[in-house]
Symmetry: D3
Subunit: 339 residues, 6 copies
């Protein structure tokens, strides 16, 4: 039987300038649905799992459309509740060449951000779940959402549901309220047995600077600190991105288990990148997919990395690739036209 994975987070509308245009250079916006945790849910559904999104959306046509889009991609939306308030939005201007991409958040006071711990009946929502996935984006939205996130993580632990947590630290988002980011993220991480975070995220949360000559060494050092601080933590994973320009980048990934050395994938060269937004979520979903399917850590890491690489070829937040496509990439089946 397929396992139920519960993702808790905000469903957003992404409003993007077409092609390589500057925001509102021409009078059109392309609309997609996104949000870190929703992205994970869609990818997991696409990889063949029973993914559930829990959250709130505006009780209007926009909220209904966002929910419908998630349903279209196979996510169980029974836990998405319409409620008063607005939809969280983000405006995206895709960069090009040497002009970086820009994200303009407009998510203050959303129906999701307003919903506190009491808004969700976690015991019921987590029933039968294998994992609860959440991220550092949610607590950044305000006290209510932060409280809800902590309640969710605690409820999961109480119910014996494994918790995965994606750091996703974005300093600008935390300016929305005066919450203590480090303390809150520490509390959330302390419930997780799987954390997606790089050494900078760890530094923000634990206040220690990871040092080392190579990315792997720095990662090992950060992991040491994380495993020491979070006794429940079993695995720490992250992508490593090198950026020559907006179009040409390279991507590898690292994973460290509580016991053992840092696992590392090959480096994938990315050129003519279509859309990098959501690559981190694709990675998280990929690693979770591996673990859910009983793969070993190396295979799970490789699957997550492959998923993240392929995400760069898909427009929108969602990683609309199937397990067979990811496996073909891992197996290096090449680039001939499939016909």
């Amino acid at each position: 039987m397929t396992q139920r994975i519960v993702c808790y987070g905000e469903l957003l509308l992404r409003l993007a300038a077409p092609g390589h245009e500057r925001l509102l250079q021409s009078p059109a916006l392309q609309v997609q649905v996104g949000g870190a945790e929703a992205n994970v849910a869609v990818a997991l559904a696409r990889h063949g799992h029973r993914a559930v999104l829990v959250g709130r959306v505006a009780d209007n046509a926009l909220g209904a459309a966002a929910t419908a889009e998630l349903r279209r991609h196979g996510v169980d939306t029974a836990g998405v509740q319409p409620a008063p308030g607005r939809m969280g939005l983000y405006f995206l201007e895709a960069g090009a060449g040497h002009r970086p991409s820009t994200v303009l958040y407009d998510r203050a006071d959303s129906a999701f951000a307003r919903a506190g711990a009491q808004a969700y009946d976690w015991p019921a929502l987590l029933e039968g779940a294998a994992w609860l996935h959440l991220s550092g984006v949610t607590p950044a939205l305000g006290a209510a959402a932060a409280g809800a996130a902590i309640a969710a993580a605690r409820a999961a632990r109480a119910a014996g549901v494994r918790v995965s947590f994606d750091g996703n630290y974005r300093s600008k988002l935390w300016q929305a309220w005066d919450g203590d980011a480090a303390a809150i993220l520490r509390e959330l991480m302390s419930e997780a047995e799987l954390i997606f975070a790089d050494h900078r995220d760890i530094a923000v949360v634990l206040g220690v600077q990871a040092e080392g000559a190579s990315a792997a060494e720095r990662y090992a050092a950060a992991a040491d600190a994380a495993f020491a601080a979070f006794p429940r933590l079993q695995r720490l994973a992250s992508t490593v991105r090198l950026q020559h320009s907006v179009d040409r980048q390279s991507l590898s990934a690292l994973l460290r288990r509580r016991e053992g050395s840092v696992l590392e994938t090959p480096v994938c060269e990315l050129s003519a990148i279509v859309d990098r937004i959501g690559a981190g979520d694709a990675f998280a979903a990929g690693v979770l997919h591996g673990l859910l399917d009983g793969c070993d850590d190396a295979a799970s890491l490789r699957y997550g990395w492959a998923a993240a690489c392929l995400k760069h070829s898909v427009p929108g937040d969602f990683n609309l690739v199937d397990a067979t496509e990811i496996e073909a990439f891992v197996a290096q089946e090449g680039y001939h036209v499939r016909r």
Copy 2:
């Protein structure tokens, strides 16, 4: 020398479903700039006047783009200040046939709504102005905006600048705060010498129900009440719309001067309507144009009515038609292809 007309109100981004689609039926939104008072400013600029918009926009790419669009259409934007906060948005689903159009406001907590009376240096902004135009939309946004609107109207009176006011009563918008709509609108109307309002608006504000067999009779009754309540008021004007469906409607207009009977335009049959949003603003701008150009009341009314009729043929909030086009319509020059 062309006269300076100051419009004070919120600049909005309008995000519309393409064609006759339902909102987010397909993943695209068409973006235009709007807002009741901005619409008046653009129309006045297009009719050859020096129109100025005063207000606040978000200090980000969206606010800059909205301001630039206004400038493109010839409005003086020196009084549009970028400030922290978000842009007011509205989502539009154009109706068709027997399905009405829907507007979804998302303008809470905008940079404009946050700005109170102290945000604007009215004596400077009104210098050299012939008119100040504002509408009932602004005070609906919150206490700060309501205070700013009243301050603007008082400053205009103090400076000898004539005030025109468009009722624009929308009960849903007023739910944003607990302001006393009737009292605030009454205060604003009491400063105006020209009010755009129909008998329902007057009823909301004055609490009296205008009665009469015909539209003109009801309007005369409402006008009697208005002239009695507002000693500064010289003219009351309104469009009269009959709606057979979303596509087939008819439009006429009424104007009553303090002394004198109700003036009435012919009835214009509208079929295959392209976009009716902003027709009321087009009417207000047209009447103001007539008055600014020294036309008599009948000619000003006819000009406003003609502008409103033509607005139905232009996509977007703005009435992108020129004085010569309006005059050709008034002169019934017909529908042959101009070449």
Copy 3:
């Protein structure tokens, strides 16, 4: 608890020329999902019911996309099976003015058309269902589909599930094989307690020509023949369409119960029609909605008629309107902008 309504029929991809262009006048096609029974399922889901589609789609990206689109609109797609074969397609050229619309079917040998009676486990699929809805399109596709349709109708009767049937007689489609249309349709109609058919459909099936001065009289005569021929039949309903041009038409609807006279709705004038495809399916779904909600015949008929009228305002096969919108139309709440 909401009731389960099972619709059995082919999910089609509709490939339409944009705007009012002739087919392939420009190098683009707009893609939507349709099919008579799928349209009914989507409308019922949109009206708040638990609608299920049963059928087969191609086991490729197109079949998956069509299924996902149905899921997006709230239809339960657990009964939609991917299978070898192609997707049924139809190319649509929307007419305008005095140029009629054209549909070019390309649905031969689809995965759906290949599937015979043995392809579906009807007892399981019908479990808990209140209604089974099918139409005359399915048997036209070939012997396998005809056999499957008859098996479905019989299984429904056996399981005590009420059967509704939409005649949908299209002579061109029946050229796909040498089946005896009248005999097969008669067999299907004999299982139904609710039939959507006009006097021409009845004439094809029963070989009797309904006569009468008015549409209602002709309808009463056709109904007499149908009630005589089909003892299970309780209600016969149909729309009546008058066509002045492609853009200007009028629509009313008729319903006759076994006992009683012909019920008739008002006539709705339709101008600037956006998309009439699927209006008949919208009508069927609306009548079913009324019956499911326990309305009387007149109210059910009016709801179906209102749904059909509103369908003309929505692009695509699906009637993307909600129950509240239909009720507002019935209540004649007018055409002002909803904001």
Copy 4:
């Protein structure tokens, strides 16, 4: 064997604002190919005849594309010569409601306008031709084009090829040079046995004002003058257009033979007009089609009128409708969806 009809005139690029937008309201233009005589050629090809266009286009990618588009629609383009100079352009802003359409010509100094009588080897070009069709647009472009047009008409007469001429009088175009419009048009008309012109065109050319209570009477009077002035003339035909707005118009047509009374078609009501540009050319091609097919005058007129009515439903200059569609309209086969 199908007959060769030679059309001589300028191939233009039409650059149109999308939908109902004002020119350059958004940053896009839709490109189509047009030109009065090219429109006739395409319609004749579509109706099953061997139509040939003779003229010059710019020897660049634009000229090649325009020629290719004509070839796509079945016109023989062997007589279209690339030559130095620019392509004639016209910018189109489609009107709506009460806002008329606007055409902005930008065709001065085109490769076509530069080409005088010596540019064309008429005896060779007219070999095997049944008709030569030209219009009053060509001589308006300048002395060279006027000379070429007169040479063409004379060569046709010399070769026994029948000449049809469409008045197409547009005063603005004639401002391009100081030619004597009346004298030149008179010379061209004197070569024609079939002229498309209304009473205003005749008035311009002959300086006589046709009077009469009805359109038919005015037309009879104008025809009397024309038949007196042009001994070769056998038939005079014209459409009659009434315009309630840009969207709602009505169309009928008149034809008078040298002997006989004015023939008149029914009046066709046009609503939700898609594109009226080229309707006159569609009429001319339709009448020519009738005459080529050996129809009597009434049938030819009705065919031309039906073609013109259907043209209003097709975007672009070209009348992309087939003979069977025109015949179905004449036979009043109605507006049901063809499937």
Copy 5:
């Protein structure tokens, strides 16, 4: 006098997802016309030759549109016959980065596939032809098409028309029927004096595996086997493609004459590839162009390779580049803007 080259093969509609989207990710498809042999015909027409397509299309609007598009690009379509049946379609999802492109064929039972040897009057069709070009795609469609292809090749030999054949082996297509691919292709190749095939195609047909350290050595070995098996064969040519990702590839080409060593072009680096579909056809057309123009083998090969390289910059199946552009590439004239 330009020479007549007859291409025999299926005209297809290509329905492609826009940009880099997954198939039906958004509700639009871009339509182009393609097909291996049609692509060759268009390229030859564009390079200045008289190219003729022979085949069948559906006798509906789609078939007519596909034929018109070919005519637009200068191909003689007198040999394209409308016939009952459907149009062959293929759906294309363009890949990006590390996600390969996908082609979904939907061409079973097309009007073309149904047409057997008796459908074509080869002696008449080949009259005056210099070459007949066909490919391995046609026999894969079914017994009728296979028979027709063999009949065409034999008729060409009988008429002294040179035959060129493009292997185009696609195992999935051959699953449409139970034909013996190797035997049929062998028969077709035995009629050809010019074959486009790489060492894998040869291996499929002849059952021998070409070995060698370099591409050129492997090619020489495959050519040895081919020249031994096919006495009429004079030249064997192929492109060599290396694929680093979907966007970054390199292309060179090889040609071996019956006598002589393997000729090789330089390697062209391809980045930011626009559309690689049809590059093989562009190569074939380029080599044929060289031979038709009397170039030596090296120049013909280089022309074909240059044409194939440039094809990667053109959207659609067709290689819309002119001889002068290909020559500029061969002459390394660089990448400055031409103005």
Copy 6:
């Protein structure tokens, strides 16, 4: 106080094929506004300066739209006069891979080209200006424009306004009339204290061939000649572009002061170029920005180079990037998503 910079040159409409399509491959053109000097004005406005365009546009909707677009981007358009004549146009086909971009000018006889020296009141237009910027494009348009350009440069010198001149030598444009390019450009350059030109431009004007092993050496030699020929000249600057393909290029820049050695920027690798048109104008505006802001030569050069590099990421002629973005590029702040 911000300084006024006057740019004198033609405002053009740019009509571009969408994406990577060949010109008119599909029936759409994207419209942008451009022109070498207008591009400089927009960039300067965007960088925070008070930029003014002086010139003439057609007195029609196209001229008004082009002017409005400039105003949208913050340029002062009070000096843009509507006048009889046409708008200058250029058609753009963006290249890709190994297919170069193509520009097709259609600007003969424009309202701008017709305007001679007497059309502009230079003393008034230059009042309060810090710089006058013009380019070698203007005199290429004809004797009138050449005379106007020389008059402008002389008036600037007379008024003590500094003159900058961009060579922009395009031999094809100069074919529009029989002017002596070298002599006229020499006269214009003799008024300038800042010239943008590479060694080829200098060679055209001065008839001397700059030699040297490296780009910098050749540039030093050309500069020696220029400083000798033009006593007022203080700085000579140019970009250096290497082109591997249309998509992959590299860009550096050089500047030489009258005294001193050649300054050189780093080389920027450009891949997946979005739009290179206007990069030279972006460079000129960037250098001017540096000088206006009081930067030293090295910083001004680096700013210009950075602006030119970023221009390649922006669609359209205009360099829509802000000073902070340019500074971030110079500071190598990397390519992470800004959020």
